[in-house]
C-alpha cells in the first residue's frame, strides 16, 4: 500500500514542471559550488604546501645568527584545510589563514579572507553546504506543502478515505514519494559533483585525510536526517493547515525563522550572555600581565634587576658571567615562560568564550535544525571555530617548543658572557635550526569532533524523532474537511 502511494506521488512529482526546474537549478548550483570549491581548495592547498616547504627552507637556511634573533625571524604556521572544506567552507572566510610564530608574542591567526572580500561576500558563500542547508529544504517545502491540504482542496482526499486507505499509511507513502524524488535528484547530483570535485581537487595531503571516510559518512547521515526533518515537518504542516496557501506560508515562515532569524538572533544572544571583550581590553590585560614579567631586554627595569639578583643568589655568585647558564638565556626563557601564562590566561579566556558562545548557539539549535546542521557540517568539514582554535593552539605549542629550544641553546652557548655578548656575540647555526621540528598540524579526528558537537547531534536527533512523532500523531488525526 505504502509503495503504491509512493509510486503515485513520484509520478505526480515527476510531471510537475516546478519540481523539474527547481531541482535542475539546485543541481546546477551544486555543481558550480562544488566545482569552484574544489578548485579553490586545490589552489589553497598547493600554495600552503609549497609555502610550508619554502618557509622551512628559509628557517633552515637563515644563516648563522643568535638563537634569539632566529626566534625573532620566526616561522609561519599555515592553517590547513580538510578536503570537505570544498563542500562547506564554513567559517574559513572569517578565520585567519596563517599565524606568525616568533619570540615574546603569541600572535593570532591573521588575514581573514573576508577582510579582503567585496561587500557581496556578506550575502553568504555559494557553497555545497549552502545549497543543501537552505535550498534543498525549500525544494522539500515545495513538494510537500500541498500534499494533504491539496488533496483536501481537490476533493480527492474524501475519495481516498472512502477507499479505506489508512491515514498513516497514506502519509508515510507520501513521505516515501518525496524522499524518492529528492533522492533521484540529489544522490546522482552529489555523487557526480563529488567525483568531479575529487578529480579537480587532486592529491590530498595525508594529514588532511584523517578519518576522511568517517567524516564523509557522518556528514551524509546528518544531512539525510536534516532533510527527513523537513519532510516530516512539511507534511505535518500540510496536514494541519486550513489550505495549501496557509501551509505554504507557515512552512516558508518556518524556513525563514530557522534559517535566517534564529542564527542571527542566536549570535546576539550568545554575545549578550558571554560578552566578547574588545581587542583593547585583551591587549591591555596582556600588557599588564607582561609588565609583571622579567623585561629581558630592559636591564634597568626593576623586575629585571630583581630577577638578576634572584639568579645570582640562587647560584651563589656575584657576576652574571659566573652563572652556570647564560643569564641572557635564563632571562629570555623566564620572560617567555611568564608570557606563556599571560597569553594562556587572556587568549585562553577568549577561546573559552568562543566555545561558550558556540555552546549557547548549539543549545539554541533546539529552535532551529538549520543551526544544528550548520555547526555539525562545519565541524566535520574542518571549517568551524574549534578547528581554527585547534590550529592556533597547535601553532602556539609549536612556538613555545621552538622558543624553548632556542633559549636552552643560549643558556648553554652564551655561558660566561655578558647579556649583550650572549645576544649578539653568540651565534648558532643550521644544526640548531634543524633541532626545531617542522610545523605539523593534525586536524581533529572524528571522535573528537563528535564529542565536541554532542549537543548539535542530540538536538538534530531530537528534531528527527520529534518530527517523526509529530507527523505520525498528525496523520492519525487528519481531518477530511478543515
Amino acid at each position: 500500500m505504502i509503495w503504491t502511494i509512493a509510486k503515485k506521488e513520484l509520478t505526480e512529482i515527476r510531471r510537475d514542471g516546478r519540481f523539474l526546474w527547481t531541482s535542475l537549478i539546485i543541481v546546477a548550483l551544486l555543481f558550480i559550488a562544488l566545482g569552484v570549491g574544489a578548485q579553490r581548495y586545490a589552489a589553497d592547498r598547493d600554495l600552503r604546501i609549497e609555502a610550508s616547504q619554502e618557509d622551512r627552507d628559509s628557517w633552515l637556511n637563515q644563516g648563522d645568527k643568535g638563537p634569539h634573533a632566529a626566534a625573532h625571524y620566526g616561522v609561519y604556521g599555515f592553517k590547513p584545510a580538510t578536503p570537505l572544506a570544498l563542500f562547506d567552507p564554513g567559517l574559513n572566510d572569517y578565520t585567519g589563514t596563517l599565524q606568525y610564530l616568533e619570540a615574546h608574542k603569541e600572535n593570532q591567526a591573521a588575514f581573514k579572507p573576508a577582510a579582503d572580500a567585496t561587500a557581496l561576500a556578506r550575502f553568504g558563500d555559494l557553497s555545497g553546504a549552502m545549497v543543501l542547508q537552505l535550498l534543498v529544504p525549500l525544494l522539500i517545502i515545495l513538494l510537500c506543502f500541498g500534499m494533504i491540504s491539496g488533496e483536501r482542496e481537490d476533493g480527492t482526499f474524501r475519495q481516498l478515505m472512502s477507499m479505506g486507505v489508512p491515514r498513516t499509511k497514506l502519509v508515510w507513502g507520501k513521505a516515501l514519494g518525496v524522499t524518492g524524488a529528492i533522492a533521484i535528484v540529489l544522490v546522482p547530483g552529489i555523487l557526480i559533483a563529488g567525483v568531479l570535485a575529487a578529480i579537480l581537487a587532486g592529491n590530498n595531503d595525508p594529514h588532511e585525510m584523517i578519518d576522511f571516510q568517517g567524516k564523509l559518512l557522518v556528514v551524509a547521515l546528518a544531512y539525510v536526517a536534516y532533510f527527513a526533518i523537513f519532510v516530516c515537518v512539511a507534511l505535518a504542516i500540510s496536514i494541519r493547515s486550513r489550505s495549501s496557501g496557509a501551509a505554504l506560508t507557515t512552512l516558508v515562515g518556518f524556513w525563514i525563522v530557522t534559517g535566517l532569524l534564529v542564527p542571527r538572533i542566536g549570535a546576539d544572544i550568545s554575545k549578550a550572555v558571554y560578552p566578547t571583550p574588545s581587542a583593547f581590553e585583551v591587549e591591555a590585560s596582556i600588557q599588564k600581565g607582561r609588565d609583571a614579567g622579567i623585561h629581558a631586554h630592559e636591564p634597568n627595569h626593576p623586575n629585571h634587576i630583581a630577577f638578576k639578583n634572584k639568579m645570582l643568589k640562587k647560584y651563589n655568585v656575584t657576576r652574571i658571567e659566573d652563572l652556570p647558564y647564560s643569564f641572557q638565556g635564563l632571562a629570555l626563557e623566564a620572560d617567555e615562560e611568564h608570557g606563556f601564562k599571560v597569553f594562556d590566561q587572556n587568549y585562553g579566556r577568549v577561546r573559552e568564550l568562543y566555545a561558550e558562545q558556540d555552546k549557547v548557539q548549539q543549545v539554541l539549535s533546539v529552535l532551529s535544525p538549520a543551526v544544528a546542521i550548520e555547526g555539525l557540517s562545519e565541524a566535520l568539514s574542518g571549517t568551524d571555530v574549534d578547528f581554527a582554535n585547534d590550529f592556533s593552539n597547535a601553532a602556539e605549542a609549536y612556538r613555545r617548543n621552538m622558543v624553548r629550544i632556542l633559549n636552552a641553546d643560549i643558556m648553554q652557548g652564551g655561558k660566561g658572557m655578558t647579556q649583550y655578548s650572549a645576544e649578539w656575540g653568540y651565534r648558532a647555526n643550521k644544526s640548531l635550526w634543524s633541532k626545531v621540528p617542522p610545523f605539523d598540524f593534525d586536524p581533529p579526528g572524528l571522535s573528537t569532533i563528535l564529542g565536541r558537537n554532542l549537543v548539535s547531534i542530540l538536538v538534530l536527533l531530537a528534531w528527527l524523532v520529534g518530527s517523526i512523532f509529530w507527523l505520525t500523531w498528525s496523520a492519525r488525526r487528519i481531518k477530511i474537511d478543515m
Partner: protein
Amino acid sequence: MIRQIMKNEWTLLSREKILYLALPIYLVMLIYGIMNGTEWKTFLYDNSIEAREMADKVFQSKRDTLDKILAGKLKYSYAEDPRLPAQLARYKGYEMATKPPAPTAAISIGQSDVVPSYVKVQWKPMFKQANTDEIENPRNLAVGTFDLSFVLIYLYPLLIIALSYNVLSSEREQGTQVLLLSQPVSVRQFVLGKILLRGSLIIGTAVVVSLFGLIVANPDILSAGYAWRIAMMAVILALYGTFWFGLAVLVNALGKKSSTNALIMMAAWIGLVLVLPAALNLAAKTLYPLPSRIAMVQALRKGDEQATKESKFSRAYRADLLRAGEEAALKASNTDFYLKVLPLEQQAEKIAQPIFDEFENQRQAQQTLAERLKYLSPAAVTQIAFNELADSSAGSFNNFNQQVEAYHDVWRQYFLKPVQENRVLTKDELWNIPRFQYQPESGSTIFGRIFGDVLALLIFAGAMLVIGFRLLRNYSGAAR
C-alpha cells in the same frame, strides 16, 4: 476614487489578523536593528578614542622620559634613550591610525566588523602590521549582524510580499472581483489604490521609524550635517520597497492563483536576496582570484633573503662590532646598524612589491566587477548603498587604508632623516611627530558613489511598475 479604495483597503486590512501579528514584529525588528547598529557605532567610536589615547600615552611617556633625562633626574642606559629615531619608529613608538565611525554608521555595519577601523603604524610594512583585528567569534561574523540594513534588505521585502502577493488574486478567488470590475473603475486604479495603501503603510513605517530611530539614537547625525545621508537612505529604502511592490503588481497581473503568486514572489526573493548575491560573489572571486596572503608573506621573506644576498652587509654586523668593546658596539649598533639595515629592508620590499601590486590590482578588479555585478540584484545594490551611507563600505575602508599608507610614508620619512644623519631626535622633533588624522570622504564623493545605485533602484522599481501596470491593461475580468 483612489482615496476611497485606499480607505476601504485600510478597513479590510485592519480586520486581518496578520496585520496585528506582522506589524509589531516589524516595528520591533526595525528598532532592534537600529539599536544594534547604534551599539556597534558606539563600540567603534570608543575604540577609536581608546586607540588614539594609547598612542597619545606612548608619545607622552617618551616626552616625560626625555624631560627627566634632560633634567638629569633619570639614570638611563643608551638603549633607553627615547630619542633614538630608528627604535622609536620601529618598535618603541607607534601611531594608532583610527577611522572613527560616521554619525550614520548605525545604518549598516557593513564591512566594519571584518576590516579593522584602527591600525598600528610603525616602520614595518602595513601588510605585516595585521594584529589589530577586533576580537570576535568567527561564527558570529559569518552569521552576520542583525542591523537595520539586514531588516530592510531581508525582512522588509518579506513583509511586502506577505501583504501584497494576492492583492488581485484574492479578489478573484473570493469572488469580489466581478462586482468590483462592474464599477466604473479600472483594474489599474484598484491595484494602484491597494498598493498605495500597503506601500504607505509598510514603506512609510520603515521610513518614519528608521529616520526617527536613527536620529533619536544618533543625534550627531543632525549636528554633523549628515541629515542628507539618512534622507538618501529613506529614498533608497522607498525605492527598494517600491521594487518589491512593483513585482507584486507584475505577478498579480499574470492572473495566476494566490498560491502560485506566493511561490513566484518567494522564488524572486530567494533568488534576488539570497542566491544571486552569493553567486555573484562567487563569480567575482573566481574571475579575479586574489593572490593568497600566504604568497605575500612568502614574497616578503624571499625578498629579504635576496636583498641580504645582494648586499654586502651582514646581519652579523653587531657581532663584528663587539670586537671594539661592548659600549662602543651598543652605541654603534643603535645608529649605524639601522643606517645599514634600512636600505636592505627597502630593497626587500621592492623585490616583493610586484606581488603586492598584483594583489592590489586583483582586488581592485574584483571590487570593480562586484560593483558592476551588483546591478543584477536590487538587494546587493541596496546593501552596498547603505554601506556607503554608513561609511562602512569596502570603498570607504580602501580610502582609509590609502590614508594610512600615505601616513605610513610620512612616518618613515620623518624618522629616516635623523637615521641617515646618524643622530638622535631633537627635543622639537620628539614633540612634533606628525599624527594621523582621518579625513572622512566628502559628501559629494559618497553621493557620486551611490548615485548609480539610486538610479539602478529607480530603474528596477520603475520597470516593475511599468511592466506590471502595462500587463494589467490586458487583465481580463472574466472569472476563470
